[in-house]
Subunit: 206 residues, 2 copies
């Protein structure tokens, strides 16, 4: 990176580089990234250092829970390690962030299983790419009363639910899915807590 | 920060801390911050380290230009140091990010002066808090043909333009203001380049 001013052109500065990096984040365009950088520049350097420090150690601090597959600092994760929770009830989700969303609703007192995706043949994601084998092992090990499938109500969510339902039908476990109430085609992440709470209570046995 | 899992409560993890830090940024709520953190976690650790590195050195790398007051790595900034630009034409702006926005439009070939705010008596911002003295010195040093006031078309922008107009009326300098075309009550930052370009050409002599 050259520090020589380039007449007649914008030079690539530390600001440009940070704007460019930040605008890779989901939902962040060049203008939002610019506003973020100038906010940071206008503010206390301690904030920038704190943010840098957390980013620097993020991947080292966070691993996958060997039981449920969600992101965690300790293995097993605090949810899996919590004897006060109902370990006979597993909520099966697509992504680690779904665990966070459901935990924030404080509606669910069981444990989780993160599939790491949904079956999407057009995107080349088959059942073999998901943590379905681990889920079967957990069920076969016994003591599991019910699996609640908490997928987004999309084609991929429906396909994955159907696939799991067939796979599990000979095993001694109930399989249910979150009730609709989630708007079809929508995203779990943008559901308000009340709607999420209702969809837990009204879950439909498959 | 305790690493002991707290039954029945969300523990404060590296993820929570980063979400909390990111949600301080302008326009970023808890949900957007959450999406950003999971995007980073899902991605290449090299990206997180790159971002951390840029944030870590941002305040060290960037200073204020001693001439125009905008953010820069070299002092004077590449714009002020560029002999190919018209140094008799100064565009006066509120904030350093306005320099970036105007530079990106490639409409303006003069130099800049950052006031560091606008006069806003209700917020306790008087002329003494702005870089108005520096601006007067630049004009008195001579060789300045015109000042273009590129403030947002808001009450504060109008007040500041009026104040500068009175202050400068005995000096040998033309004072103009960006033409409307900018929607009244709007923000320079969200103006498209074409509108910005037109407002430069149609600027009104005060």
């Amino acid at each position: 990176m050259s520090n020589i001013p380039q007449p007649g052109r914008n030079h690539e500065s530390a600001i440009d580089r940070l704007v460019s990096l930040l605008s890779r984040l989901p939902g962040i365009g060049k203008k939002s990234a610019g506003r973020m950088v100038y906010y940071i520049l206008d503010g206390d350097p301690a904030y920038a250092r704190l943010l840098a420090g957390e980013l620097e150690m993020l991947h080292q601090a966070i691993r996958r829970c060997s039981v449920c597959g969600s992101f965690t600092e300790a293995d097993p994760c605090p949810v899996c390690a919590d004897s006060g929770r109902d370990h006979s009830l597993i909520c099966v989700v697509e992504r680690p962030q779904d665990v966070r969303i459901i935990e924030e609703s404080r509606e669910f007192r069981g444990v989780f299983h993160v599939l790491g995706g949904l079956i999407a043949p057009l995107d080349g994601i088959g059942p073999d790419k998901l943590r379905i084998g681990d889920l079967l092992s957990r069920v076969r090990r016994g003591g599991i009363r019910e699996l609640i499938l908490a997928f987004n109500p999309t084609v991929e969510g429906d396909t994955t639910a159907l696939y799991l339902q067939k796979l599990l039908k000979d095993l001694e476990v109930e399989v249910s899915r979150l009730a609709s109430g989630l708007p079809v085609g929508g995203d779990l992440e943008y559901t308000d807590k009340l709607t999420l709470s209702r969809s837990f209570r009204g879950r439909i046995k498959l």
